[in-house]
């Protein structure tokens, strides 16, 4: 479904990704783990066209997307929950949700999806007239997730969806991701909660210094000594 081949990217003169190869198949949950600064977020930003790679290629359903602007990538069905959320903080929760629907299809089903989101996240229903920036971190995270789902993604990219959340909210995020996946959405996620993520994921990649250093099934990675030592703190 999604394939990265030898992707190099970075900011200005500083290269962060030194040739990333990975792929996501239809219907999978794929996890990307690695320490801070390994290049996970840069990878996610590059897939969505926020950054453009200097070398390599990214294909989605056989079509090259790394030369396309971000809105055309969303049009093809890839939607991201970015690490720093990037909510429209001065706008209401309702407007944030409405802005999540940009493709023709998503706009056509907007009312329906909106009702579904407010049902899935009852807190957002309560706060729909409130400005997004005035909500708690957990509520903002739910809104970011709901906004992304309003875009009807085929491939949902989650960059640290549970960062900074209280434990019960972390569980809620994982529950929602599982539910979305069961509805047929393919998921690529970066997460700090390595244990929980690898239990959920079909496959996982380990990233170090801008390269993929290991690739295996989620359960295999959970049993790998070097992964356990480096990321599970055992």
């Amino acid at each position: 479904m999604l394939e990265l081949e030898g992707v190099r990217a970075g900011y200005d003169e500083i290269e962060v990704l030194h040739g990333v190869d990975m792929h996501v198949d239809e219907g999978e949950i794929v996890a990307l783990i690695g320490s801070n600064g390994a290049g996970k977020t840069t990878t996610m930003r590059t897939i969505c066209g926020i950054l453009s790679p200097s070398h390599g290629r990214i294909t989605y359903r056989g079509e090259e997307i790394h030369t396309k602007p971000s809105h055309e990538i969303v049009e093809r069905g890839i939607v991201q929950v970015p690490e720093n959320r990037d909510l429209f903080t001065n706008m209401t929760v309702m407007n944030n949700l409405l802005l999540g629907a940009q493709t023709d299809e998503a706009i056509a089903n907007r009312e329906e999806n909106l009702a579904e989101m407010l049902d899935l996240f009852p807190r957002l229903e309560e706060r729909k007239k409130q400005r997004a920036g005035t909500m708690s971190g957990g509520e903002q995270q739910m809104l970011t997730l709901a906004r992304a789902l309003m875009g009807e993604p085929d491939l949902l990219i989650l960059d640290e969806p549970s960062i900074g959340l209280a434990p019960h909210l972390v569980q809620e995020v994982f529950d929602v991701v599982e539910e979305i996946h069961q509805q047929g959405v393919t998921v690529l996620m970066v997460e700090q909660n390595v244990q929980q993520t690898l239990q959920l994921a079909d496959r996982g990649y380990v990233m170090e210094n801008g390269r993929i250093t290991m690739s295996a099934s989620g359960s295999a990675l959970l049993e790998d000594d070097s992964v356990v030592e480096a990321y599970l703190g055992v």
Binding site: P69, H71, V74, V79, F88, N90, N95, L98, T103, A148
Partner: protein, 331 residues
């Protein structure tokens, strides 16, 4: 040897004469007296105050409209558009041209000016701003300054630097002893109508929502799939069209030449800073404040001192509340 009280007296005399030095020649008096006069007039409830208030409102409303396009372009694109003043002038000349050569009413000329400026704005954006949109801000500032000079010179070459005037004798009415020139009154109505219209467009339509979203968070806009480059040129076009309406409205009551835009541009900048860059209500309130200062200052203060007050307000805002009155509020 002088006695101690004597010395104290001499010292006191010295201190008072030094302190009074700037007052000699009436320097400070000339600045204080008008304010004293203003307060006296308020205490006496002089009818002139009502007249000045009316003039301030008439001017301030139009000023708000001149600042609106500028603040919108900044809010969405972080571009400070120096060409905004000359866009106003193009609006003035458009209204003048269609009314003098085609015999079309200046009131019809104003929407025509909006269309002309919308197209011009998109053209200018694609040619000058778009290619350097990701570059540091001073680049776009210099590019739009270049646009200002080119358009201004072109107008000067085509229409001569002589002042022009839209032939329109609307006269004036008196309401409760307050004299209201109708040209300015219609300009105010057009300004208010346009501002309400833009506000409804931004708040109630999908495109307006996308523009606000892009202004709020550019990366967020890209993540949800908004076509940000398209929003950019539409915003630049709408901002320019607003300048066209503002310029056309000003032409209803004022003579203009190719350089008229400069004064308006400077005031529009002050309004935008005062109200908060990118803020809609800020542009409105800022416009009224600057209009009031200019009208009241023009009446009470000598010469162009009111413009000094406006700049003091500008610098004061930057020092005390650089985000402006409405900075950070809903765009």
């Amino acid at each position: 040897m002088p006695t101690i009280p004597e010395r104290r007296n001499r010292m006191r005399h010295l201190v008072t004469s030094v302190a009074a030095a700037p007052l000699q020649g009436g320097g400070l008096d000339r600045f204080i007296d008008p304010f004293a006069q203003f307060l006296t007039d308020i205490a006496n409830m002089e009818p002139v105050l009502l007249q000045l208030l009316a003039f301030g409102l008439l001017l301030g409303g139009v000023y708000a409209l001149t600042a609106l396009g500028l603040t919108m372009i900044f809010g969405v694109m972080d571009v400070i558009n120096f060409a905004h003043g000359v866009f106003l002038v193009v609006g003035m000349y458009t209204v003048w041209l269609v009314s003098t050569t085609l015999g079309i009413s200046p009131f019809i000329g104003i929407p025509i000016a909006a269309v002309v400026l919308f197209a011009l704005g998109i053209g200018v954006h694609i040619l000058t701003v778009e290619p350097i949109i990701e570059a540091p801000q001073q680049n776009q500032l210099i590019a739009t300054l270049g646009v200002l000079l080119i358009i201004q010179s072109a107008i000067e070459i085509i229409f001569t630097p002589d002042p022009q005037q839209v032939e329109l004798s609307l006269g004036s009415v008196q309401v409760g002893g307050v004299f209201i020139p109708l040209g300015q009154f219609y300009a105010l109505l057009i300004a208010l109508g346009t501002m309400l219209g833009v506000r409804a467009f931004l708040n109630r339509t999908d495109l307006g929502r996308k523009i606000r979203g892009t202004a709020d968070n550019r990366d967020g806009a890209r993540y949800v799939g908004i076509n940000v480059p398209q929003i950019n040129y539409l915003t630049f076009g709408i901002g320019a069209a607003l300048a066209g309406v503002a310029g056309g409205s000003i032409a209803l009551f004022q003579r203009f030449d190719p350089f008229t835009g400069e004064a308006y541009l400077i005031n529009a900048f002050v309004i935008v800073i005062l109200g908060g860059l990118g803020s809609f209500p800020g542009a409105f309130v800022g416009g009224l404040i600057v209009g009031m200062i200019q009208v009241f200052g023009g009446y009470y203060l000598p010469g162009t001192t009111s413009q000094v007050l406006i700049f003091l307000l500008f610098i004061g805002t930057l020092l005390v509340k650089p985000e402006g009155l409405f900075g950070g509020a809903e765009a």
